[in-house]
Structure formats: structure tokens, C-alpha cells
């Protein structure tokens, strides 16, 4: 449980944000009064400030914020117009709040001398109905302009002391600017994000170094052994030569002439050379030994750096985490207000508030939660009378709860109201043409209809007339933070909305898998299960938890060549809000924590990906978006390849047992805009012929399994293929081979090595090659 002083700390740091937002918002509004959306923003901030202040029992602050909120609401509803009085009042109230916060942060009591006058002024403003201004329209306008300059002046007063040299005043400034110093420091979440990205990059570098160090170590080992061999050779050589010296040779050096042979080592050139070699090699192996010790140490250090990096990463991620309870608390006041407004009795229950989530997610959860809370009170929970009739407790319960499931936070908004009216949805769906008369959708399918954009029951319309938005918008916001929205409802028992979001956006847990030779990832929270199988059902569906779900073969959809013939496959069951799909992939590598980066601007349109990650060794992995891969399958490359696919492409079949010839011919012809199929022998060639529309055949003569003559014979004697021109491409230049081929009906004969131009000339006989 959070104690009171801790709560106050939280509040103060939060309040500073709000105060800053209000200050800059008011300033901007005074400069450009036409930006009416600013009023809404200010309203929201004042509202939050009011709620949070009340939570820590700072009632004066809460009251003032409340008055600000009232004025802003009146502005929003156009009951009053912007005027200098209003700016003055808002600014003064804000200054009042700042004064209070300064006092409170120093441990003083909450007190403000001008409280009463501020509130009175605010009340006066709110009571001024618009009608009172109608006949003074022009006056209001001039006033508003005057108000701006007034405001600017009063705004300036806030920080005039920067240039003041008076020491006493300086101290005062110090006191005043030091306001919110506490054991907490505030940091832009973006900076943490930047730091996390940097850590990601440092990790990549570190892994690279580690790999390189290993290589160097191997090389140095090799050099070391080579050095040893060299020393051995040199030693043997030296010994041999030492003994081979003629014994009767006397020293020529007069200084040494008195020494006999065994009395002083003699040095002839070979001897000297071999000794030198010995010394050098010894030095070298000594250095090498040092070097390898160094590299051992180096990789050890890198490894410990790695573990420190991991801790650093975890800490930074953690520092961006916030208790979700703080978010839940913000709903206490609105709940009361809404309940009061709609004449309902509601009790708010909060559980699991200590679950920590990423600040970014925290902020982006507020609006969807707000909508769901409002929805639950206005449409879920019945009036007391109705509840008593239904034998329910007269006071309805709305509970907000959160818990962790692996790397996911599950947030539940449950009411014990009447549940979603499925009958109403059915009727609406019929009138809106979403259902036909004889359709019999399941309950679940009916519930899912509330998420269709533009779908509205009277309930939904009612809400949007208020402050809410459609359920489809809620779903969109949730999926914006990689979250999933689920709903369960039982008539007269209640409705539960479940929001499943990853705990952190900066570092995501992903499933890493392979399709062909390429690696991809999917955020783990989208994944229900991974099934290992040896047989893929032929109809591309699978029954999973009593439901038929569609399978998508990733390699096929993306056109990735498979690298193994193994029947062994993995099916990744992905669940994305209301849809489940199974992705067939070749190999599942495992889970890992990674930094997901947004998609590159040039590739943004590839909606099958939601971002990229780069692994430690610099491998690029795209983050697949399971929802869009489903749609992509239905219309692959719709806009993309259109421009490049030439429908009138001519097709060539090249049959040759030499890979290099096949490759050479096909890459050449492909560059000439032909579509090329290749086969390594006659049988394969025939198979392709039966399978694909072929415009011309280029074949070798000598091949295994089925040689060229037989292929030519079969083609020319078959009814369907006899008109396809055949070009023989062979190394046999003799007349015998040529004549036999021509006898068989071959149209052209080309001898290897051929030049590309002559092949092209032959093809020109049959096709127009405008682009060649």
C-alpha cells in the first residue's frame, strides 16, 4: 500500500506537469484564441488536476482547479466567450495553485490567502451567460484583444527576476524556483526511450566485438602453433649446423685466437642466423601468449559488460514503469460524477493497483478506460429501482482490476449491470444491413459487431452525443499500444471488458521464428500457442479450441523460397482482438526481449510489418502484423507489383543439366524481361511443360534421365506442344548432331559457348523484343 507522503510525492511530480501544461496552454490560447481545441485540452488537464488533488486531500487546490474546469467547460459549451477577464481569472487561479504547491512541497499546510476572491471571480464569470455579451459583441472582441496584451503582461510578471541583481530577491527566486525538489526527478519519457535505443545499439556493438575477439583468438592460436613449429624447425636446423662445423677451424678473430673450439662459442653465418631466428620466434610466441591472455581477458570483460547492460536495460525499462493504481485512482471522481448525473448508485472497486506498466501505455490507456467506465455506468448498471426488482444489490459495482500474465498486463473493467443487449444489436445489424434475415450469428459474433466502425445502437449514439466515442475507436486506441480488447457479457449479470497490453513498449517480448532463410518476430502478446506439426491440413484450416481458424503459409504469401523439404512445420496461433489466425512457419527459434523500432518511412506502406528489430549480430528482422498479413493474403501485392508485372511476358523453358548454363541463360533472359523456367533434364522439362504456359524451349542434347533428342521428339509429336519452337543449345558443333536435331523438328541450333546477341537474335524471330 502506498503511504500518504509517498502519494503526495507522486502528486507533486504529476501536478508540476499539469501546471506546466496549463501555463503553456493558456499562453497559447491567449495568442491564438481561435484554437478552440486548446480549451478542451485545458479542460482535461484541469479536470485531472482537480481529481488528483482531491485524492491527496488538497481541497483548496482541488476547488480552484474545479473552478478552472467550470470556466473552461462553459467556454467549451460556448455559454461564455473568451475575454480578458477570463484570462485574468485563469492565470490568477493557476498562480494560486502554484503558490499552494510550493508551500505544500516544503511541508507547509495547504493555504491560500486569495482563495475566496479567486473563487468568487470564477463564479461571477460562469454566471455571465452568453446573452449578456451579445449586444456587446464588438466590445468583447476588443476586450479579448486587450486581454491578450494584458495577459502577456501579467504573464511576464511571473519571471521578471531573472535580470534582477538584488541579492535578497535572488534568494527569493531560489526559494520559488526550487519548488518541487524531492527525491524524485522528472525525466522526459522520450529520453529514456532514447537511452534504451542506445543500449540496444551498444549491445549490437558489443556482440560484434565479442564475435571479432573470438576470431582474433582463433587466429592468434594458429599463429602461436605456427610459431612453435617454426621454433622447432629452427632449433633442429641450428643444432644440425652447430655440429656440422668443421672441428679444425680456428678463430680468425685475433682476439679469440687463443680459444679452442670448445672454449668459446663460434659464430659462423648460418649459426648466427639460426640463433637469431630462434630468438625472434621465442619473442614472437611470448608476445602471442600475452596477446591471447589479453583477448581472454577482453572477452571476459565483454561478457560481464553484457550482463551489466542487461541490468541497465532492465532498470531503465523499470524506471519508465508506473503503478496502474495511479491511473485507476483518476476514475474515482468521474465515476461519482457520472453516476450522480445519470442517477445511478455505483461503487468503484479497485484491485491490483500495484501492477506496473510502461508510462507510454499508462497515458494511452486513459481515454479507452474512461470510455469503458462511462459506458458501464450509463448503460451497464441499472437504476436502484430496477436492480431491486431484479433481486440485485441496490448499489451497482464497477470494478477496475489489473494483473500480470507473463509479459502482459490484463486490465479488466467489470460491471454487474444488465449486460450488452444482444437482441438490440441483432435488430440494429439488420437495419444497417450487416445481417440478413436468415443469418443466425452466434452470441460472440453479435458482440463483435459493436466494434464495427460506424455501427451504432441507440446506446452507442447516446454515448457519442455525450463525451464518449464509439467502441471501434476504443479498439483502435487499444491496438495502437499493441493491445487486445476482449468482451464478455451475460444478461443481467454484467459485462467485462478485458484489455491486454504488453507491460512495456520500449522493450518487447517477441517470438522469433524463421520462414525460409529469413527471420521474423511477432510480439508475444499476440500469440496464443505454437503448435508443432508434421502435417498441414490440405484445406488450410485447423480446429483450435473448437473453432475453425484459417491457416496462412507465410513463405507462400510472402514468396519466400523454402530452404528445407522437411514436413516439419510450426503453426503460430495469433489472436488479434476478435480474430484468430494460424501462421505456418518453418522454424520457431524462441522468445526474446528486443527493441522494436518503427518502420522506415520508405517502407511504411508495407502494412504486413509493424516495425523492425535488429539482432545482436546485426540481422534485420521485420515485426509481422498478424492482422494485416491476413488481409494481405487476400490481396497480395495489390498496389505494389502492379507497375512492374508485365502481363505479356513471354515464357522460356531452359532445359540443361549444367546449373551454370541454366543460371546464365535465365538471368540473361530475365534481364530481357522474359519469364524463365528451368529444368535439369527432359523429364523435368516435360513436367513444367504440362504445368506452365511455355512460349519457347531451349534445350541441351546430352542430359541424364532423359536426353534432349527424346524431349524434342516427345514435344514435337504431342498435339498440344508441337507448335512450341525449340532451340537446341549444345556443345556439339558437328553436322551429325545438328542434322539429327533439325530432322526432329528443332527450329534453331546454337553452339556453346554462345554469345548473348545470337541467342537474342534467334528469340527475335519469334517475339518482338522491344525492350532488348
Amino acid at each position: 500500500m502506498i503511504n500518504k507522503s509517498e502519494l503526495l510525492e507522486y502528486f507533486l511530480s504529476e501536478a508540476e506537469d499539469h501546471v506546466n501544461a496549463l501555463e503553456s496552454g493558456i499562453a497559447e490560447l491567449s495568442n491564438s484564441p481561435e484554437k478552440s481545441y486548446l480549451i478542451e485540452e485545458l479542460f482535461r488537464v484541469a479536470h485531472t488536476l482537480k481529481g488528483s488533488a482531491a485524492l491527496v486531500k488538497l481541497n483548496i487546490t482541488s476547488n480552484i482547479a474545479h473552478k478552472m474546469e467550470d470556466i473552461l467547460e462553459a467556454l467549451m459549451q460556448k455559454r461564455i466567450d473568451l475575454s480578458s477577464t477570463i484570462f485574468k481569472s485563469l492565470t490568477e487561479m493557476l498562480e494560486g495553485i502554484k503558490t499552494i504547491l510550493r508551500k505544500v512541497s516544503r511541508g507547509a499546510e495547504e493555504y491560500l490567502e486569495s482563495e475566496q476572491s479567486l473563487i468568487q471571480l470564477a463564479d461571477k464569470i460562469i454566471k455571465m451567460e452568453k446573452t449578456a455579451f451579445v449586444d456587446q459583441q464588438s466590445l468583447t472582441e476588443t476586450e479579448s484583444k486587450k486581454g491578450q496584451s494584458d495577459f502577456k503582461e501579467s504573464h511576464k510578471v511571473v519571471k521578471p527576476y531573472l535580470i534582477d541583481e538584488n541579492r535578497e530577491k535572488e534568494e527569493k527566486i531560489h526559494e520559488e524556483t526550487d519548488v518541487f525538489i524531492s527525491s524524485f526527478i522528472k525525466l522526459d519519457a522520450q529520453r529514456i526511450e532514447d537511452m534504451l535505443n542506445l543500449i540496444g545499439e551498444v549491445t549490437i556493438k558489443k556482440n560484434y566485438l565479442l564475435q571479432k575477439a573470438k576470431n582474433v583468438l582463433e587466429t592468434s592460436d594458429e599463429i602461436f602453433f605456427t610459431g612453435r613449429r617454426l621454433i622447432r624447425e629452427v632449433n633442429e636446423f641450428a643444432e644440425r649446423n652447430a655440429y656440422a662445423l668443421p672441428e679444425n677451424v680456428k678463430y680468425i678473430d685475433p682476439l679469440l685466437s687463443e680459444f679452442g673450439e670448445l672454449e668459446f662459442d663460434r659464430y659462423d653465418q648460418i649459426n648466427v642466423f639460426s640463433r637469431k631466428l630462434q630468438e625472434i620466434t621465442n619473442d614472437m610466441s611470448e608476445s602471442l601468449r600475452e596477446l591471447s591472455t589479453f583477448f581472454d581477458l577482453f572477452s571476459d570483460n565483454l561478457k560481464s559488460m553484457d550482463s551489466m547492460l542487461k541490468i541497465l536495460k532492465a532498470n531503465l525499462t523499470e524506471s519508465r514503469m508506473v503503478d496502474i493504481g495511479i491511473l485507476f485512482q483518476r476514475f474515482t471522481k468521474p465515476t461519482k460524477e457520472i453516476a450522480k448525473k445519470y442517477n445511478k448508485k455505483v461503487e468503484l472497486k479497485i484491485t491490483g493497483g500495484l501492477t506496473k506498466i510502461d508510462r507510454v501505455i499508462f497515458e494511452r490507456l486513459f481515454s479507452p478506460l474512461m470510455h469503458l467506465v462511462m459506458n458501464a455506468i450509463t448503460h451497464g448498471i441499472e437504476s436502484s429501482e430496477e436492480r431491486i426488482q431484479k433481486n440485485k444489490k441496490p448499489i451497482g459495482t464497477l470494478s477496475l482490476s489489473a494483473h500480470k500474465e507473463g509479459g502482459i498486463a490484463v486490465i479488466e473493467i467489470t460491471d454487474d449491470g444488465k449486460g450488452i443487449d444482444l437482441e438490440l444489436i441483432r435488430r440494429e445489424a439488420m437495419t444497417q444491413g450487416l445481417l440478413k434475415k436468415d443469418d443466425s450469428p452466434s452470441e460472440e459474433e453479435l458482440i463483435q459487431m459493436i466494434f464495427i466502425p460506424g455501427f451504432s445502437t441507440s446506446e452507442v449514439t447516446d454515448i457519442s452525443a455525450g463525451r464518449g466515442m464509439g467502441m471501434s475507436a476504443v479498439k483502435r486506441m487499444v491496438s495502437g499500444i499493441n493491445g487486445i480488447l476482449e468482451v464478455q457479457t451475460i444478461k443481467d449479470v454484467g459485462t467485462t471488458f478485458k484489455i491486454k497490453v504488453p507491460l512495456s513498449l520500449a522493450i518487447s517480448n517477441v517470438l522469433l521464428f524463421r520462414s525460409g532463410a529469413l527471420e521474423f518476430v511477432i510480439p508475444s502478446n499476440f500469440i496464443e500457442e505454437v503448435i508443432h506439426t508434421n502435417s498441414i491440413p490440405s484445406d488450410d484450416t485447423i480446429v483450435y479450441r473448437d473453432k475453425k481458424i484459417i491457416l496462412i503459409n507465410l513463405s507462400e504469401v510472402l514468396g519466400i523460397p523454402t530452404i528445407s523439404d522437411s514436413q516439419e512445420k510450426f503453426i503460430i496461433i495469433c489472436s488479434v482482438s476478435d480474430k484468430k489466425i494460424g501462421l505456418i512457419v518453418e522454424d520457431v527459434i524462441g522468445q526474446e526481449e528486443t527493441v522494436i523500432k518503427t518502420m522506415h518511412g520508405f517502407l511504411e506502406g508495407l502494412q504486413i510489418y509493424s516495425g523492425t528489430t535488429i539482432s545482436g549480430d546485426g540481422t534485420i528482422r521485420f515485426v509481422l502484423n498478424p492482422v494485416n498479413i491476413f488481409d494481405f493474403r487476400l490481396s497480395p501485392f495489390k498496389t505494389i507489383y502492379q507497375v512492374y508485372e508485365n502481363p505479356a511476358k513471354k515464357t522460356v523453358l531452359i532445359v540443361d543439366d549444367s546449373v551454370s548454363v541454366r543460371k546464365h541463360v535465365s538471368s540473361f533472359l530475365e534481364s530481357k524481361n522474359f519469364k524463365v523456367y528451368s529444368a535439369s533434364n527432359g523429364v523435368e522439362g516435360l513436367n513444367i511443360l504440362y504445368d506452365k504456359p511455355i512460349d519457347i524451349i531451349i534445350t541441351d542434347l546430352e542430359m541424364p534421365v532423359m536426353h534432349g533428342y527424346e524431349l524434342i521428339n516427345r514435344v514435337k509429336s504431342s498435339r498440344e506442344f508441337k507448335d512450341i519452337p525449340i532451340v537446341v543449345l549444345t556443345s556439339r558443333s558437328g553436322d551429325k548432331h545438328r542434322e539429327k536435331a533439325l530432322l526432329f523438328g528443332v527450329n534453331d541450333y546454337l553452339v556453346k559457348p554462345f554469345d548473348e546477341e545470337s541467342l537474342l537474335n534467334i528469340l527475335r524471330k519469334y517475339f518482338e523484343i522491344s525492350y532488348a
Binding site: 510472402l558 523500432k597 522506415h600 518511412g601 535488429i614 540473361f668
Partner: protein
């Protein structure tokens, strides 16, 4: 016209694909890198040859031979010329290490790639 006002020459970075040379304004060229490994981008148009990681970011590598009529480029020893455009980096594959050349601004220089227009034309659009 005094000497000071004489227009300065404009420098271009010249690179080659197949037999064709292309020019880029030197000011927009960020760096030239060797291609160690290039990763395919499944689902992208042919002219996206792949993507390479450069200092923790991915850079799409563009094969101009799929946009202009160029025969069999040889990318065996290709370089990637990385340019700054719209707060992103994209790269053009070149068969050679690029060189630089200056022209008088009066001369009409052909085959200069207008990177911004290129980006707008060829960046992958969301299907409607």
C-alpha cells in the same frame, strides 16, 4: 559581375549501375558503405533490393536497374550510397565506389536524381 559574385560550382556524387551513371547532389549524400550483408524485404517491390543495418538503423537499398532500363547490373562488389531524405536514410546500390564531379551551375546536368521526388514516387504506399 565581380569575382565574388561568380556562381559557385555544384558538386555531384557520381555512381554507376550497369552502363548508366547517376548523379546525386553531394550535399545530400551522407556516407558510402560496403555491403556486408543485405536482407531481403519480402512483400516489397523489386526495386527494393533489400535492407542493411547501418549503426542500429535499417536503410533500404534501392536497385535502380529495376526502375531504369539497365541490363544486368553486377552488384558483386557493390557500394551503398546513403542519402538523407525526409528525416530518413535510403541507399542506392552502385557498382563502383562513387566519385565527385563539379559543374558550373549554368550547365544543365542530366541524370541527377531528385531525392525528395524519388522518395515520394517510390516509397511504398498503403494499399487503398
Amino acid at each position: 559581375m565581380s569575382r565574388d559574385e561568380e556562381p559557385k560550382e555544384i558538386t555531384y556524387c557520381v555512381f554507376r549501375v550497369g552502363e548508366k551513371e547517376f548523379l546525386l547532389p553531394t550535399s545530400s549524400v551522407r556516407e558510402v558503405v560496403d555491403i556486408v550483408k543485405i536482407f531481403p524485404v519480402p512483400g516489397s517491390p523489386e526495386y527494393v533490393y533489400g535492407a542493411i543495418p547501418v549503426r542500429g538503423k535499417i536503410v533500404p537499398a534501392i536497385d535502380l536497374s529495376k526502375i531504369y532500363p539497365i541490363e544486368k547490373p553486377n552488384y558483386n562488389d557493390a557500394k551503398l550510397i546513403i542519402v538523407d531524405v525526409k528525416n530518413e536514410n535510403i541507399g542506392f546500390l552502385s557498382e563502383i565506389a562513387p566519385f565527385f564531379i563539379s559543374f558550373d551551375p549554368d550547365i544543365v546536368v542530366e541524370d541527377v536524381i531528385d531525392i525528395k521526388t524519388f522518395f515520394e514516387t517510390y516509397s511504398i504506399k498503403q494499399p487503398k
